[in-house]
Symmetry: C3
Subunit: 303 residues, 3 copies
């Protein structure tokens, strides 16, 4: 595992190894410790800003004992010339670090970078509709941790699913497990794209598409809520309220279910929901730290 580019590259045994390592990192942090990677340098190369994801990776690197080079906005600040090829940037910056965490504004950016890079690349999101594999892994880890299994689970995705990088990446991962059932709840205009459905068909995964939460919420183990872009929805005349998670929606939700969200949220989940024990999204964001520690350490160890 040199580069981390897309969810599909992970096989189940590797995922289970990763989750064990993640559990271990959780314990290290809980006891206020650090790992022994003080000679390692990570570069955060973010062409689209995301303080949250950047801090999650950088904190992981610090908890491992390592060091961090960072740019908040590489597109604006990178250099005096505006047309430098990504391949050149990567080959240069690769000299200065042991791993590059790349968020790029174009789909395929991370793959292009990996093709020329002697230094490990981690895709931290590439373009709208691209991938965000470490998010998908931490989502899956949270599901595994909260439900104690992945096999046999029913997972509903709700929100703007067409360009939803996180929903797409997680669906790829879930398709590797046995007897999972997926629901995609979205207005027609924002439904999950056919390429994902084709992938699910190929892997014999059961799924349903629907416009409404009716009859579904009582059946699912996991409700994965994704961001709704207000402006975009208004242009499409979608009634936002039908896809918002409020205390009244909670009443229909299975008592043992878990609510996940990649965060940041906009209006999709009311703050009142946070108090419900089924609301797992703040635990999910915390898990991101441990999972990224595990991933980085696997890369450094050459595992």
């Amino acid at each position: 595992m040199k580069h981390i580019i897309e969810s599909q590259q992970f096989k189940v045994p590797r995922i289970m190894d990763l989750f064990e390592r993640t559990n271990f990192m959780k314990k290290v942090v809980a006891r206020g410790g650090t790992m022994d990677y003080q000679n390692k340098i990570m570069a955060s190369l973010f062409y689209s800003p995301s303080t949250r994801t950047r801090f999650s990776f950088e904190s992981a690197m610090y908890r491992l004992g390592g060091k961090v080079l960072t740019t908040e906005q590489a597109r604006e600040f990178s250099s005096e010339i505006k047309d430098e090829r990504l391949e050149d940037t990567i080959r240069i910056i690769g000299n200065y670090c042991d791993v590059i965490v790349l968020r790029h504004h174009q789909v395929g950016g991370a793959k292009k970078a990996a093709e020329v890079s002697a230094t490990s690349i981690i895709n931290a999101g590439d373009g709208s509709g691209g991938q965000h594999p470490t998010q998908a892994l931490l989502d899956l880890y949270t599901i595994h941790n909260e439900c104690h299994t992945v096999d046999g689970l029913s997972v509903a995705f709700i929100g703007a699913l067409d360009n939803g990088r996180t929903a797409r990446s997680l669906a790829y991962l879930l398709s590797k497990f046995d007897r999972v059932k997926l629901y995609f709840i979205a207005p027609d205009e924002l439904q999950i794209k056919p390429d994902i459905l084709a992938h699910l068909d190929e892997h014999n995964i059961n799924y349903e598409l629907t416009n409404s939460t009716k009859g579904i919420l009582s059946k699912v183990d996991v409700l994965y809520v994704t961001r709704m872009d207000r402006e975009r929805l208004q242009r499409k005349n979608v009634k936002l309220e039908e896809y918002n998670i409020t205390p009244s929606v909670l009443k229909q939700l299975n008592k043992k279910a878990r609510i996940l969200h990649p965060l940041p949220r906009s209006v999709e989940i009311s703050p009142e929901v946070d108090q419900d024990p089924r609301a797992a999204y703040f635990r999910q964001t915390e898990n991101g730290l441990y999972l990224r520690m595990a991933l980085l350490s696997m890369i450094f160890d050459g595992d």
Copy 2:
């Protein structure tokens, strides 16, 4: 002391403890040493940019041996959605660090953050007219260090005092000491606000408001100069020159007085004044480092 939100929260014995710890940190840095906090992470979350304050905190954290997550401009760069609630951001970022240094553009931002945060919050300035308690503490430390006491001192504030976060915060702190006398020198339009005066009345603090330095400069122990916003003053037709500290003003100033300024300065103090031994503002900015080391270490130690 979990959070540092406003000057008022500090009582005199705590302040004196803090100043002793600050003296200790000064010695650590002087001998080129570091403290033992290498497993601690500080996050600089600046919604309004301030390289100076940010570097002061981050250097303090490094001299303690710790690590730093940083954003120069969280408002612009934080995430793909523009309407995330501060409470969400704080709860997420709190997972990635042991203390959050928050500069927020709205008065009350730090307080709002502290209400939901399991991680310590330090207010590094909240809005125009809000507070900046660590600045006030370093100002007070400098006064104490230069004058060897605070009780019984005469302190004159000069400049645009109405929205002056630093003058306001320092006035709160000074009101805790015995027999201090305060002068507020400003054009009527920019005078210190009634809420501060009410607070001083409550604490039986002697003060005078005036438009002019005449007759005052020979009497004060400390002249605290604050920033004058040129454009704003021009709109108000204020004659800037009357409030500028120049070599000729120095002649009227008490021989043992000290000149403080939170820096950065604009035109309020001529560069020629820097050579005068009474000009203490560069020593003041240096003290910021030691005082912030002391504050951070108190938080980490749970003191």
Copy 3:
């Protein structure tokens, strides 16, 4: 050596010492080690953004074991006032670190900073047409490393040489060596400026100015290519193609020659050229890391 402001300040014996130290640093990094400067702090104070140069310095500091304060865009983010004097900023930030790496947008910025600074200043580029001494030193190191000598070499500069900070700085350095021969290949409008030629005359350096690569490429040991600003050239009606390095140009180039470029490149060198063993520019950028480690350590050691 307290400050590093311009190429001219380095004498040949000092340069040779520096290159030996650079070789040593290369070995330290190759074996995955770090040096022992963990109590040192470097501040990157960049008024014009350059992720590449910034990362190169910051990585050097980390490989030395030290810590880094950083700003990507000090001009935009530094403070609430826009007219602060650089001298004030430097005196304040000098309190928070052991060395300031300054990229300033005005020619002479670094010199102005050094005049007031108790803390070491390294010029990381000052204005268009100013200097960039650490780049020149790493260029020279690369030449020395690839050609095993500097004395007696023929070096051709090609591109927009009039404002080329790197070409100018390197010409100053080369003039200190014996029997070097320089060629300046550029359209008349963009030719190297008379001040450099006067300096070369003073040091009895042989040089030629020309518009074309014809007859020169077979004779040179080093071809130093610099950035061509497309828009600027179009305004001047320069035929870009004549100054681009393509596979067909390579055929005319001396078999033992080396191609250098400060990077980032625009269109001046086709990506196909990268495979040629004479293309040394990626090795050159890697050398920047080791050379900056050597420079920083010399400053910390007071050498």
